[in-house]
């Protein structure tokens, strides 16, 4: 049953959640709270139609958005900031697949975006030194009616 709330911010949560961490792609949203590695991150929660966005800013200034389905599974993450986030942590069990794909796609012209399109698993990484942007999502775990254009 889709949540039919329009996008709004629960500003109070930013203050309430003093020690949020990053959830992991493909895992339960509870890992947002359980994982305290990035203990200096601040967080806000944005319920949107069909999903909830957990938005965190890491100590290094990277804005990470985690998209949780109504059943509580993280089906997408996006990031934007002066450096890359710890993708090993963010992508969890998908990190190795990403790493291998990035390796095989590597070619001279090292400043071109990384676009990895596997069945069910997509990673896109762009930007330049001092400004990086990207997203990863599990295409077959996205709630129906959610377009990947919404992941940003």
């Amino acid at each position: 049953m889709p949540i039919t709330v329009k996008v709004f911010l629960i500003a109070a949560l930013a203050a309430a959640c003093s020690l949020p961490g990053f959830a992991v792609l493909g895992e339960d949203v509870s890992s947002v709270q359980a994982d305290r590695v990035h203990s200096n991150a601040s967080m806000r929660v944005t319920p949107a139609q069909n999903y909830t966005i957990h938005e965190l800013r890491s100590a290094t200034g990277v804005l990470v958005r985690e998209y949780a389905s109504p059943s509580g599974k993280i089906f997408a993450v996006s990031w934007q900031g002066p450096t890359l986030p710890d993708l090993q942590q963010l992508l969890g069990s998908y990190f190795e697949e990403f790493q291998k794909a990035a390796q095989s796609q590597n070619r001279p012209g090292g400043h071109s975006p990384l676009m990895i399109q596997h069945p069910g698993f997509v990673v896109e990484l762009g930007g330049h030194m001092r400004s990086f942007v990207g997203r990863a999502y599990l295409a077959d775990q996205m709630p129906s009616e959610v377009s990947n254009q919404e992941i940003r």
């Binding site: 290094t60 990035a102 090292g110 975006p113 676009m115 330049h128």
Partner: protein, 398 residues
């Protein structure tokens, strides 16, 4: 083996573009024009022989305050990064000159420099850097060397590939001449979890994240020239068809000499991320100008209608060449840019071509005006905090 030219250059030597000439091989750059602030540049397949739309030049580095120097060809000219990086001979590059390593209290300084599709790892060393008739003294540079020390886990956890070989880098180094003077800035001078982990102190093969003062970070050499130090112009001729190579000029300084005035170029200030805006089909996106990106990388199939390639991963392959238009802006100054995107699989099918004006590809939510943007333009890059006749950098102008 790569070309290299050991030279014994006096520090006042000018006209370096063809210095050490006798040991250059046939791919050498055209002879420099006479002005001391003009450096020849060329788009070709590069030192690995397989680079598409790679813009290259040569750079001379010297052990500081000595005449022990080496001129290195096949250096990628990159307005999308900051600082000079040289691939060591250990990584298959040309650098054999031993440059002094930068030290901190707990060891030698290492760097993990993040690019979009890879990182470079190695030590931070000090060099006098000479390009055309310009010289910057005591410049912190990165010596890319996979054997320098074990790659720290924080560097690997970004997940992007290691680009520490000629095969993966496609160049003997990178000359980062973008709109900032240092490659990281204040964030890398912090301790604790807010430090992004670019700089390390290494004792033996073991490296720990370290705070690195901005002035000791790898520096855009242009910012350290005694004059002509407020920016760079890249000039490349228009391209009518794909080609094997394309020659042009890199001119140092903006409005400092008779050959580098802004003329009618429009000025686009950039934000603290080095970006401005581009509007495409009515929607505005973050954008940047990057000679080190080998295509026009923008948005995705959904927003452009351009399908991606079956063979050439990461590029667009429309069934016929598409003529498109976008508007670059930074507040009130705006400029319409017309461009075309052809089928990358078709472009690459001609094995002799390495210069492509119509090469494009996807890029998440961003407009990256890569090398094809530079063809037929004079593109000015003004460095942060530096005055020019059109105001203080950072800005792009064209």
């Amino acid at each position: 083996m790569k070309f290299l030219a050991m030279m014994a250059l006096g520090l006042t030597t000018v006209s370096l573009a063809c210095g050490g000439g006798s040991s250059h091989k046939s791919s050498m750059l055209p002879v420099a024009a006479s002005a001391s602030n003009i450096q020849p540049i060329v788009v070709n397949s590069g030192p690995a022989g397989n680079y598409a739309n790679g813009l290259f030049t040569n750079v001379t580095v010297c052990v500081p305050s000595t005449s022990e120097c080496q001129t290195i060809d096949g250096i990628l000219v990159d307005t999308g990064s900051f600082g000079l990086r040289l691939l060591s001979s250990g990584g298959g590059g040309a650098l054999t000159l031993s440059l002094p390593q930068q030290k901190q209290s707990n060891g030698t300084v290492g760097e993990c420099a993040l690019f979009v599709s890879g990182y470079t790892w190695g030590s931070v060393n000090t060099a006098d850097v000479m390009i055309a008739g310009e010289q910057a003294s005591n410049v912190p540079v990165q010596v890319i060397d996979p054997t320098f020390a074990a790659v720290p886990s924080a560097c690997k956890s970004a997940g992007v590939p290691e680009n520490d070989s000629l095969q993966t880098l496609g160049a003997n180094g990178i000359l980062g001449i973008g709109p900032f003077a240092a490659d990281c800035g204040g964030a890398c001078d912090q301790t604790g979890s807010s430090n992004p982990g670019m700089y390390y102190e290494c004792a033996g093969s073991s490296c720990q994240i370290a705070a690195e003062p901005v002035a000791q970070q790898v520096q855009n050499p242009v910012a350290l020239f005694p004059s002509d130090n407020n920016g760079v112009i890249i000039q490349l001729p228009a391209l009518t068809a794909s080609a094997a190579s394309l020659s042009g000029s890199m001119i140092f300084g903006i409005g400092t000499q008779s050959n580098n005035s802004l003329g009618k170029a429009k000025v686009f200030p950039v934000n603290s991320s080095g970006e401005f805006a581009t509007t495409f089909k009515g929607q505005s996106y973050p954008a940047f100008v990057d000679s080190g990106s080998n295509a026009l990388f923008f948005l995705n199939t959904n927003s452009t209608g351009l399908s991606t390639c079956s063979n050439s991963s990461g590029f667009y392959c429309p069934s016929s060449t598409q003529n498109l238009s976008a508007v670059t802006s930074s507040g009130s100054p705006t400029q319409t840019i017309n461009f075309s995107i052809a089928n990358a699989d078709s472009l690459f099918s001609n094995r002799g071509d390495f210069v492509f004006g119509t090469l494009g590809g996807p890029n998440p939510g961003t407009f990256d005006w890569g090398l094809p943007f530079f063809f037929g333009r004079s593109v000015f890059t003004a460095i942060e905090g530096r005055g020019t006749p059109a105001g203080t950098g950072p800005f792009w102008a064209y």
